[in-house]
Amino acid sequence: MFFHNGGCMIVHQPVATPMHLFADDLSIVFGGAAGQGVQTITSALIPVMKKEGYHLFSCTEYMSRIRGGSNSTQIRITGRKRQAYVSRIDFLFALNAQALEHLQERVSPSTLVFAEKALLPEACSGQCIDTPLQAFASQAGNPVFSNTAAVGIVLGIMNIPLDTLTDYLRRQFAQKGETVVSQNITAASLGYAFGRQTAETRDIRVEIPRHESQSGTLLMDGTAAAGIGAVAGGINFISSYPMSPGTGVLTFLAWQSQRFGIVTDQAEDEIAAINAGIGASYAGARALVTTSGGGFALMEEGLSLSGMTETPIVIHIGQRPGPATGMPTRTEQADLNLVLFAGHGEFARAVFAPGSLEEIIETMQKACDLSQLFQIPVFVLTDQYLLDAVSTIEATDIRLHPIASHIVMTSAGYEQYSLSEDGLSPRGVPGYGEGLVRADSHEHDENSRSTERFDVRKTMVDKRLRRLKTLRESALMPTLIGRADAAETLIISWGSTRGVLEEALDRLGNPGIAGMHFSQVFPINPALRHLLEGKRLAVLENNATGQFADLLGLETGRKIQHRILKATGQPFSVEELVESIRETDHA
């Protein structure tokens, strides 16, 4: 049996303290089958919580199917901003029996389990709460309202005024008519009363500090941040083939295509997508493709074409576990080597790996700028966890910079690959000026004539690679977490593991351990070297081999003593990372 008898756990608690007090951190998890309404619940609850002024973070895990299976979403409400997944569950709302089984490892004696009586095991009166969602829904007029009732329960327990929810329901269902609105409100009220009552009888108190509800605080997931970053980066062309979890960026730009004049094309395959992107970019568009590892594997020859023709392209890859089809809806950071070494031949590239909403937006803008400036392919590596996670960002942290186009009006005699000191040629586009713009995938001379002259080859290889020096020297430095100068041990992370590292280090509170997060993983700024001097190094990665640890070793000549790795298809939880860091520290 997976349930602990919570009753005996609480007998000796002092009377003055509530049995269940949440003063800083509350983790609510909703579990059910696909199509059962987990998403309906969380998409109502999250904006309501945000409006109430709570810091919140939410992440989702789901199976690769349209209906059925077992999915869950965590909503964390915290006193200070947190951006990480915790395995601890304070309140579990189970919409079916499979959800209880699916999440059993995360249920502890202190977890309160809300479910219909029929779903609950008999011997768990202490932590199980018979929750008649169906009855509330029927009373309100339709079984589909059970989700609204569940939202009402959470508000009731937290003692949040019901108005916030009823306002939301009015807006949300306005188009469906007054009956649907009022039935939803009835379901919410029934749930709310149940929640209030449960809080009293079970002695549950949520006293997490709130802030003024700020209109300047925005709520979004990583996918939306990537889309906003692309728009801010001036992207005006996207051609892509749907592949989870990269599809959302295509959907986002399609949604915004009218407003910003973004040409959006759903390609017949990934090979078409990147070649269309390169064609567009050759003609002067700012082009983006979005995909996942498998789709990018198909794009590789196109990547090489971008390198040879010096045509800018931005490639967003939402990573998921491979090889092959792998686990389509799960998360991993195992495609770093793929993008570092993709494409035949040698050419310059840059790779970004953001770890927060702010960084997703900034690095996407930066990727657009760099690809145009250096006339190279630039990657933005995210993953399922980061793209689906919802949290808050301040509107003032999103900046729209003037776009530097780097396109010149050509004059007669223009040569696409003219030689220069830094290897960069003025970029012309067809139809703008008197010159002819000729691009070639063969080795070519300055005017794009295919050549097999070895001296020209040598000159052109050098031309294409020379920009790496500037790229390297202007690469983003990592963010330091804690007192990196004083610490003996540095835990190094990249991409989506930023939030979990920050929180784990906070919990450990050990001044001997600090963190470092890379939002650009290639090239590595040579100035990094001195930051690592004299430190024990551990690299944290959501993969099985430690790909970034290898890269860092290669780039800095430093030995990486420890690798903290996970490749189960799930993100790191704060708890397990705290444990791993402790082990590393004692090793």
Binding site: S43, V263, D265, G277, A287, P402, I403, R438, A439
Partner: protein
């Protein structure tokens, strides 16, 4: 090379990598001649190609060009047209490039109906890789790979294009420069996806389908041919025996993808800065909701 007689001629001394006697030379002459007749400004024209002997054609024309990857000329052409519809885009590549490696793009470019002209050098053999079968090689042709002769029926580009309602489907024979020029002119003028499959003898690796063979095994569509009858065109394209030359099918009623997408006249290179007010509106969307 000859002295410069058309605006599309490359400077004298430009190295041409085609074999003496190759049908590509004649086809190049026909293309230049069509462009000249139509008075297309080289500064408005982009030639796009994949890889192979045929795909070298853009190198021998003094216009904008992008010579991309094997099989991938059509996606490049798509990207160019969607980014700047003021440009005239002509794709030139071989049968292996277009019907083999790039087959999926061929299907979907026709479905989209992008306003481009696609000239396929069809010599029924792989020349640059030294004589293997191409998708259009005739059954029974012996090659270093198909040692017992080609086992499969040849790919029929006209029938496939008609099946997808390609709005302009034609075939030419490079040995007849004047007629080829006429057909290509019509194709470039046509608004929508225009396919011109051009028989073009490979004098080194295809000893079967020679100039003589093409003369004997083709015929021009009669003057009364009804190019608006798709079913009739399909019947003509699939009839065993001699192969038809000329404009097989024209459908003026299909709208091109650029129009369906509402692509405006301002090229994308001229509008890179996102509008500040629109951006503010986008950001405002996220004050309440959390996803796109």
């Amino acid at each position: 090379m000859h002295e410069i007689v058309t605006p599309y001629d490359m400077p004298p001394g430009t190295d041409v990598a085609w074999c003496p006697g190759c049908g590509n030379h004649l086809l190049l002459e026909a293309v230049k001649s069509a462009l000249q007749t139509l008075e297309i400004d080289p500064k408005r024209l982009v030639m796009v190609s994949g890889i192979g002997q045929a795909a070298k054609a853009p190198h021998y024309l003094n216009t904008h060009m992008i010579n991309g990857l094997h099989g991938r000329a059509l996606p490049l052409a798509l990207g160019i047209r969607l980014s700047n519809r003021n440009l005239v885009v002509v794709v030139e590549s071989g049968d292996g490039d277009m019907y083999g490696e790039g087959g999926n793009h061929f299907l979907h470019a026709i479905r989209r109906n992008i306003d481009i002209t696609v000239i396929v050098h069809n010599n029924m053999v792989y020349g640059l890789t030294k004589g293997q079968a191409s998708p259009t090689s005739l059954k029974g042709m012996k090659t270093p790979v198909q040692t017992g002769g080609v086992l499969l029926e040849p790919f029929n580009p006209l029938a496939v294009a008609l099946g997808l309602d390609a709005p302009f489907v034609a075939r030419a024979f490079a040995g007849d420069v004047e007629k080829t020029k006429e057909i290509i002119s019509q194709a470039i003028t046509f608004r929508g996806f225009s396919l011109v499959d051009v028989f073009q003898p490979c004098v080194v690796f295809n000893k079967l389908n020679t100039y003589q063979w093409f003369r004997e095994n083709t015929y021009y569509l009669p003057p009364g041919h009804n190019a608006e009858d798709r079913t009739g065109a399909f019947e003509t394209a699939t009839k065993p025996g001699r192969l038809p030359l000329g404009v097989l099918y024209r459908n003026e009623s299909r709208r091109c993808y650029e129009d369906l997408l509402g692509i405006g006249d301002t090229p994308l290179h001229a509008r890179q800065q996102p509008d500040r007010d629109s951006f503010q509106k986008l950001i405002d969307t996220f004050r309440q909701d959390h996803t796109g």
